[in-house]
């Protein structure tokens, strides 16, 4: 069977388990506060909070089971066993930068008054240039600053032209 990409240490599982217990409890609490429409003669089993309450309870229970299991596993293998091999990952700063660029594009460059094609061209060009350069610096790619800049601009302009053309003109889909 396929394994998950990221093996997880019992310590991480225990922390997540506490999160599930807290989330489950919060859901149960919120479901309990929901209107039960008793003044309209409604039966308890039709209450809007019944189903989410049951699910919240189950999340908390399974969170408890996960906590119990992580403690048992930690007793056998230690708290830090089976953590992910950092060698397969890029530095966290690079990941954070990429994620920040994704969010800036989706939250600030799109649908906020800037023309879609311009926001898209800026995002794609900046992304391609930044990460091609980072690949070059880490020895994962070859090339020059000038070459990467040309590639980035070509990608940015092409995306900004082709996507509106295909979505709006060919398939009549509205863009942000």
């Amino acid at each position: 069977m396929p394994a998950t990409s990221f093996p997880v240490a019992p310590r991480t599982d225990l922390r997540t388990a506490f999160f599930w217990i807290a989330l489950g409890a919060a859901i149960v609490f919120e479901s309990w506060r929901m209107d039960r429409f008793e003044q309209q003669g409604a039966e308890l089993y039709t209450a809007p909070g019944l189903w989410p309450g049951v699910i919240g309870l189950l999340i908390a229970l399974l969170g408890g089971a996960l906590a119990w299991r992580s403690v048992r596993r930690a007793r056998v293998n230690g708290w830090e066993a089976a953590e992910v091999d950092e060698a397969i990952l890029v530095p966290a700063s690079r990941f954070a930068l990429a994620t920040a660029m994704f969010f800036i594009y989706a939250l600030l460059l799109v649908g906020r008054g800037l023309p879609f094609w311009l926001g898209t061209a800026l995002f794609v060009t900046a992304f391609v240039f930044t990460f091609r350069r980072a690949d070059r610096m880490s020895g994962a790619a070859t090339g020059t600053n000038r070459g990467d800049a040309i590639l980035a601009i070509v990608c940015g302009v092409a995306t900004a032209v082709v996507i509106p053309l295909v979505f709006e003109q060919l398939f009549f889909v509205r863009l942000p």
């Binding site: 990409s5 039709t46 809007p48 999340i59 690949d135």
Partner: protein, 501 residues
């Protein structure tokens, strides 16, 4: 029987106009490329194409989606063989023997085997799609609220049990999906749940942006986080499938086709499990099991036949029960709903020819992958060489555009981002995503089933446990769950040994 064949003939003919043929060629190509590119999956491909085809007539839109789906599952084998990186999770099993064959200088033959296995697998699945859907549709008409409740629970439990390597985490992911489905107005009193005063949240989460986030954006983040494997493409010989391979391994093809279709029918389980199960069955049945993992044609044929047979199999429960058999099928089901097709037990009554339209679409998708299997190798090799920093921002732009396109709301873009982050964090923590998606898709059906059932039975839970089909379903669920507890498995094993003695 003859009515079915006539309807199938009509459906085949209805797609023989130049525009539809163009769509088949284009969407199969898009599917194969998406499948071949590591980090882009069939689910993401179908979700993105759903948004692109939103204004098209329903049959042509679904034709595009099915061709993309079939193409992507097939395309994954290319990178598995040439790069030893599965293009989609469904191709992971193909890496073992496909790349081993490539290292022996037989990459072309391996690709030919993948093509013949995928084509025959899809055809076997398609046969059962045409055969079983009307029968299961009739059976599904007997289902009431109680049965649908258990069926939806069964889907989430099975997906949680089989799609990852940790059932407990799979079940938690499923519950998180179900709770996400409760956000917004509920069905009886129109009461806003978990909306915290937001009008957008009161409308609930649109399915497509949630799926684009959980599969598209989350996978992009995973691709950004992981170092790119160096691209070293093996040299390859002729990619034309050899008849001798098909003739020699016909038992493997038939067995894997049946296993793939059956696993496709199981709610939410999907192509990766189908490929691994077919691979394991072929290894058990083989006279040369020691060759598996070292370039076994039998093994590659089994994996490729199994995962592609799963595609039509996964559509069977969509059409008959309104329950998806895999994650891409969940998106396909969402697309059907967007296009005004109501999949479920009534489909054979409301749109009896639609099932044959889907079979015909599957047939054309098969022709599409056969065409590209024979012709596309060199182009695909060039696509595989495109660096990750070029592909990722373009795919992200498509995720944003796709989420917005469904109802022209920026809120849907935020939903996509939110589910992307949830999907990424869950993946990093070892939680499978398929149960989460099944939870989102089936949560509503589950709740409606429970509340309707309780209203019908005046608040008693008894019919949920005593009606024959319900009883069969809940007992199966309990057995599936209990068998995941080591104590119960131990007791069962001891009992079997004692009986044998």
């Amino acid at each position: 029987m003859f009515d079915g064949l006539t309807a199938f003939g009509h459906s085949l003919a209805s797609f023989l106009d130049p525009f539809s043929i163009g769509l088949i060629l284009l969407s199969s190509l898009v599917g194969v490329i998406i499948g071949a590119l590591p980090g882009l999956t069939a689910t993401m491909g179908v979700a993105l194409m759903t948004t692109l085809t939103i204004k098209m007539p329903s049959n042509q839109a679904l034709l595009v989606l099915i061709c993309t789906y079939v193409g992507a599952i097939y395309g994954g084998s290319r990178s598995a063989i040439l790069l030893n990186i599965p293009g989609t999770p469904a191709s992971a099993a193909s890496c073992l023997d496909g790349h081993a064959l490539a290292k022996q200088g037989l990459a072309g033959r391996a690709m030919g085997i993948a093509t013949s296995g995928s084509v025959l697998g899809t055809l076997i699945g398609m046969f059962f799609l045409a055969l079983f859907t009307p029968v299961l549709g009739d059976l599904a008409l007997k289902f009431g609220a109680y049965e649908f409740f258990w069926l939806a629970v069964f889907g989430v439990i099975i997906a949680g049990t089989l799609t990852g390597d940790d059932p407990l985490k799979g079940w938690i992911a499923g519950l998180v999906g179900i709770i996400c489905a409760t956000v917004g107005q509920e069905g009886i009193y129109a009461y806003d749940r978990f909306s915290f005063g937001s009008r957008d949240l009161a409308g609930g989460f649109n399915l497509v942006p949630a799926l684009v986030g959980a599969f598209g954006f989350a996978e992009l983040m995973i691709a950004v986080r992981e170092k790119a494997a160096p691209v070293r493409i093996s040299a390859f010989d002729s990619v034309i499938p050899k008849l001798v391979d098909v003739a020699k391994y016909w038992k493997t093809i038939l067995r894997s086709g049946l296993i793939g279709t059956f696993i496709g029918i199981l709610p939410g389980v999907g192509e990766d499990v189908a490929a691994w199960s077919s691979y394991a069955a072929a290894k058990r049945a083989s006279k040369e099991p020691e060759k598996f993992g070292k370039g076994s044609i039998d093994g590659l044929m089994a994996a490729e036949t199994g995962d592609n047979a799963c595609v039509p199999g996964a559509i069977i429960p969509v059409l008959t029960l309104g329950i998806p058999g895999s994650a891409p099928a969940a998106v396909l089901m969402a697309a059907m709903l967007i296009h005004g097709v109501r999949p479920g037990p009534m489909i054979m009554i409301e749109a009896p020819t639609f099932v044959y339209d889907v079979v015909a679409m599957m047939m054309y998708a098969t022709i599409g992958i056969l065409f590209y299997g024979l012709t596309l190798t060199n182009v695909l090799v060039k696509v595989l060489m495109v660096p990750k920093p070029v592909i990722l921002p373009i795919i992200f732009v498509l995720c944003v555009v796709g989420s917005f396109a469904i109802s022209s709301r920026l809120f849907d873009v935020w939903v996509m981002l939110g589910f992307g982050v949830i999907g990424y964090v869950l993946r990093r923590l070892g939680y499978p995503i398929a149960p989460l998606v099944l939870g989102i898709v089936l949560g509503d059906l589950m709740e409606k089933g429970l509340r309707r059932g309780l209203v019908l039975s005046d608040g008693t839970l008894l019919p949920f446990f005593t009606r024959p089909i319900s009883a069969l379903l809940w007992i199966t669920i309990v057995v599936v769950v209990l068998m995941k507890f080591p104590v119960v498995r131990g007791l069962f094993r001891r009992g079997t040994v004692a009986r044998a003695e």
